[in-house]
Every structure is written in C-alpha cells, then in structure tokens.
C-alpha cells in the first residue's frame, strides 16, 4: 500500500509540475516526463463490477397497547400501539478490482399510524411518515489475511436526521480458520423535541459510540462459531421526547431519562452443517446496561435443503429482559427518573417464523443466478404487543 501511495504521489507530482509551469508562462502544457501506467499507479483498483442486486419488501402489522401511550380509556390506562410499516430495501454488492468490495443498503420505511403510542393522539405530526436511509460499506483487502472496512450512512425522516460512520479491521490466522475483527462506529442523531401535548420545542440530539471485537472460528469441517463483545456509550436525549408516564395523581407527565447509557452485549453464534443436507443455527446474546436492564436472547433456526435449488427454514427466538430501574406504570410526580415505555419494561418476547428460498442457476446471458425468498414471522410479547411480519426477496447474482 505504501509503495502504491508513493508511486501515486510521485506520478501526481511529476504530472502537476509541468502543467503549473506551463500555466504560469502561458504556454501549452507539456506531457509529463515520467509516464506510469494505470496499473502501476492504481495497482489492483479496477473497473466497477456489480456482483449482486437484491430487493426485499417487508410489511409489519403491529397491534398492542403501552403505558407510554395516551388515548387509553382513562388518562392512566395504556394507549394503542397500532402501526403498519411497509419497508422496501435494496442491496447492491460490487467489486472494484481484486481488492475492493462495496456494499450499499437502502432501506425505505413507509409508516402509517407512526407513533400511535404517542403524540399522534394530540397532533398529526407523524401519523404518516416516510423515511429513507443509505448505508455504504467499503472493504479493502490489505493482504491475503487482512481487510479494512469503512462504513458511512445517513437516515432521513420528517423530524429526524441521523448520520453514522465506522471503521473496522479483520485479520485471519491459521489459514483462515480463525478470524479476529474489531469495529468502531459513531452515530449522531438530530431530531425535533416535542412535549407530550404535541408542542414542538426546537431540536435535540444524541450520540452513540460503539466498539466491538469478534472472533470467528472454524471448529470442524461442518462447524463454525463466532463470539462478539461490544460496548455502546450513548449521550444526549435518549428518549423520543414525547413518551408520557401515568402518574399517581391520575394524570400524565413527561418521561424523564438519564442523559447517558452504557450498554454491553456478548454474542455467541454457531452454524452446524447437518448430514441430511440441513443446517442448524444457534444464537445467544447477553445484554446489560447501567439503567438496570439485563436481557437474554436465544434463537434456534433449522434449515433443510429439499432440492439443489430450494431450502426451507424455521426459527424460534426467545427474548427476556428485566425492566430499567425506573420503569413505572404509575410514577410519583416527584420522581427524578421515570418511564412507562413498554419497550423498557420487563417482558418476554417470542418470535416464530418460517421461510422458503430458491436459488436458481441461469445459463443464458445476464444474471448467473436468481434468488427468491418468502418468509413470515410472528412476534409477540407478554406485555401486549404483537407483530405480523411478511417478507419477500428477489436477488440477482451476476
């Protein structure tokens, strides 16, 4: 890399010097004395080649009630969390020569009854929200065993802007059996501040800094494991500003959250190829933060290939969490910290899902493979929230 940078700098210097002189003297620019080929300067940086294009459309149909929501039968009863979300996504994977890979993700959300659990009962500010995001990740192969990654993205939404950027590095040992990785990610959110009556009060922000390390290990010719630990530090306005809290005085007050949150997560994954042409995936995640929330998440997924071009999958996920220390469905008006957000309450959440996927080789000109997938998930919680998720994907490999 150093050699190429030096060569590039030398070529630019040599090329720029005569041009500058010629401009100063009013003469036609002379050709550079030293001419390096593109391959000498750019090395393996080559033409842009699209490897795959995938689209996915997902719909979320949500029902339930939460104490942070207004509009219940009385001022202190839970209100509706009804929402429908339509989410088209686009992914483009491309290579640029032999060393550079790009991945671009573009999710778009069309939300109706957005924030049904909040200010839409008193204002229609976000009853219908369209949001879009772009996330661009570039991976550069430093050598046969190491890669560096740069990621950047932004999210645009009516009352909300978010930017994030990150760096990552990975190194493979033992002929690729073991891969160590580290990532750093910074996100900055900037959004409107509302009160619980729908009044707008300028803007507020928060930042999120995440660092993580991971280890991926080939254990046997059919077993792959991954361990990951990460910490996220958030500062700023950590709520959405319009959540309300039922009070002991039988009315409602605003949510009051700390201005900082430190979140730790330890994740283990295992993929096991099964002799009958299937695969087993196990996932476990331990989470803890300084708001007092501890969560355990386990997931098991079984995949079975029915034919060379088709496989099916079934997944079950269990998530249990304690609530944050200051969660209350009837808070003291003088409480320093309080929230009634159902997402921060103690609960169990279950997901049951299934999918079928087709990978069809194409021999004629154009894409060399077609990927089709249809799936359904049912998400339900013990504190009155249910979501039906239908998803459909189409992908082309070139």
């Amino acid at each position: 890399v150093t050699h190429r940078i030096v060569a590039l700098a030398a070529a630019l210097a040599v090329a720029a010097a005569p041009a500058t002189t010629a401009r100063a003297e009013g003469e036609a620019p002379a050709p550079p004395a030293l001419s390096l080929g593109e391959a000498d300067i750019l090395g393996s940086i080559g033409a842009f080649h699209v490897e795959s294009v995938t689209t996915r459309v997902t719909s979320f149909d949500q029902f339930g009630h939460g104490y942070q929501a207004q509009g219940g039968r009385t001022a202190v009863d839970p209100g509706s969390e009804r929402a429908t979300i339509f989410e088209p996504q686009l992914e483009v994977d491309a290579t640029q020569g032999s060393r550079i890979k790009h991945r671009v993700l573009v999710p778009i959300d069309v939300v109706t009854n957005a924030s049904a659990d909040a200010i839409d009962l008193v204002t229609s500010a976000s009853r219908h929200v369209e949001s879009g995001a772009i996330d661009w990740t570039t991976t550069y192969k430093l050598d046969a065993a190491s890669e560096a990654t740069v990621a950047a993205g932004l999210h645009l939404e009516n009352p909300f802007r978010s930017w994030h950027g990150g760096l990552g590095i990975s190194h493979a040992f033992a002929d690729g059996d073991t891969v160590l990785s580290a990532t750093f990610l910074e996100a900055f959110d900037w959004f409107d501040r509302f009160d619980i009556h729908g009044g707008r009060h300028g803007r507020t922000d928060r930042s999120s800094t995440t660092g993580s390390v991971g280890l991926t290990q080939i254990v046997t010719p059919t077993t792959l494991v991954n361990l990951n630990y990460g910490v996220t530090i958030q500062r700023g306005e950590l709520g959405n500003t319009w959540n309300s809290v039922p009070l002991t005085t039988f009315d409602r007050g605003p949510e009051d959250l700390p201005g900082e949150r430190v979140r730790h997560a330890l994740v283990g994954r295992l993929a096991q190829f099964l002799p009958w042409n299937g695969a087993l995936h196990l996932y476990y995640r331990l989470y803890a933060d300084d708001w007092g929330l501890v969560a355990h998440t386990g997931e098991i997924e079984l995949l079975q290939r029915l034919a060379p071009i088709v496989y099916i999958g079934a997944v079950y996920r269990l998530h249990t969490q304690t609530g944050v220390d200051f969660f209350s469905v009837r808070a003291d008006p003088g409480a320093a910290r309080r929230t009634a957000d159902s997402d921060l309450a103690p609960f169990e959440a279950h997901t049951l899902g299934g999918r079928i996927a087709f990978d069809v080789s194409m021999t004629s000109g154009g894409p060399r493979a077609l990927h089709l997938e249809v799936g359904y998930d049912r998400y339900f919680r013990t504190n009155d929230l249910q979501i039906n998720v239908v998803t459909c994907a189409t992908g082309f490999r070139f």
Binding site: L105, P107, A174, L224, T232, R305, H319, A349, A393
Partner: protein
C-alpha cells in the same frame, strides 16, 4: 458467567490449533451456513428487535439512529 465465557473462549482458541484444510470447507459456501444470514434479512430483523426491545447496541450495530424510539 465469566467462567463459562472463559471456557468458551479457551475452546475456540484450542480448536484453532487444528486447522481445517481448505478442501474440507465446502459446506461453508452453502448459503444455509451463513452465520449472520442474508444482509437485508438480517437488517430488517435487527431493526425490528432494536426498536421494540430495550436491549439494542453493543454488538457492532448502532443503538439509536433510525426511528428515534431508542
């Protein structure tokens, strides 16, 4: 918990001493063996859980960002 984590790490490191030859890794090329799944599917799942549960962040994904409900 710490002992279990240490044991798991030790297992992974010890396992790393026995290299699996390249020509015996064919199963890992099967899409069914992807540890994190297809990226768009993983993204939409992560977004669902991050915005509906209080336990986002820490494992390489941004906490916050997006819908503003973290």
């Amino acid at each position: 918990v710490r002992a279990r984590v240490a044991a798991l790490l030790a297992f992974a490191l010890v396992a790393g001493c026995a290299t699996v030859p390249q020509n015996r890794r064919a199963h890992f090329a099967d899409p069914m063996m992807s540890l994190t799944g297809e990226p768009l599917d993983a993204a939409r799942r992560q977004k669902l859980y991050d915005t509906r549960e209080g336990a986002a962040g820490g494992d390489g994904a941004p906490a916050g960002g997006g819908c503003g409900c973290q």
